[in-house]
Amino acid sequence: MQNNYVFIKIPSYSTNESFARAAVAAFCSSLNPTIEEISDIKTAVSEAVTNAIIHGYEDEVGEIEIQCRIKGQMVEIIIEDFGCGIVNVEKAKEPLYTTKPELERSGMGFAVMETFMDELIVLSEKDVGTKVIMRKTINSRK
């Protein structure tokens, strides 16, 4: 199953958070990941999609695009929104930093993505949107 891919487009409803992480987890299952690896991927996807919903689109409804690609044993997940963008990505990535403490946000989203995946790239432009690229190599179960 070399170079397999999937493309998902969803409106930014919070009900879609569980669908998005389950869909990505199902797609990755061909790599025969461990339960922990699947759990890590689900958590990272949930963080990125939640960010798009809460911060990218705030109270508006917009579209979120999720692309998954398998390259050998590596999975690449791209989660993109076309919302307000992040003015200072480095600041946003700091653990416990949040612009929305009143919503009980923990400010840990990017830290979780960084810890649970091998690689995290955040590309963002104000009023254009945010693109999160995450990669993880799966060490197939024997």
């Binding site: 919070s14 009900t15 958070e17 569980s18 992480r21 339960i35 922990e36 759990s39 689900k42 958590t43 949930s46 963080e47 939640t50 919903i53 809460i54 919503l103 009980e104 946000r105 923990s106 400010g107 840990m108 989203g109 830290a111 979780v112 810890t115």
Partner: protein
């Protein structure tokens, strides 16, 4: 996510079942705060035995309930966290303010 409330004197145990994410946290917040608003409860036990998933929204949610209970000098305890749930609890450092058993 499903919630089950078990009352025992001044202790309210809340059993969480399913996924605790941004969506379910928003739904559950109002329900839980309504249930624990009675000031007689000075200890909240959050039982995660049947929790399948938690992300950082879930951490924010637990800290939010901690703040509610702390106002009346009460405590929160987390019990029965599975290995995968424990991973994000440990990462968050939430154990410094909330007892995890």
């Amino acid at each position: 996510m499903n919630l089950e409330f078990v009352e025992s004197g001044q202790i309210m145990t809340i059993k969480l079942k399913g996924d605790l994410d941004h969506h379910s946290a928003d739904e559950s917040r109002v329900l839980i705060d309504e249930k624990i608003k009675d000031e007689k409860y000075n200890k909240i036990v959050i039982d995660l035995k049947n929790l399948d998933f938690i992300d950082s929204s879930g951490i924010g949610f637990v800290i939010g309930r901690y703040k509610v209970i702390r106002k009346r000098n009460g405590v929160i305890e987390i019990v029965n966290a599975s290995k995968k749930v424990r991973k994000i609890l440990d990462m968050s450092g939430i154990g410094k303010i909330i007892n995890i058993k």
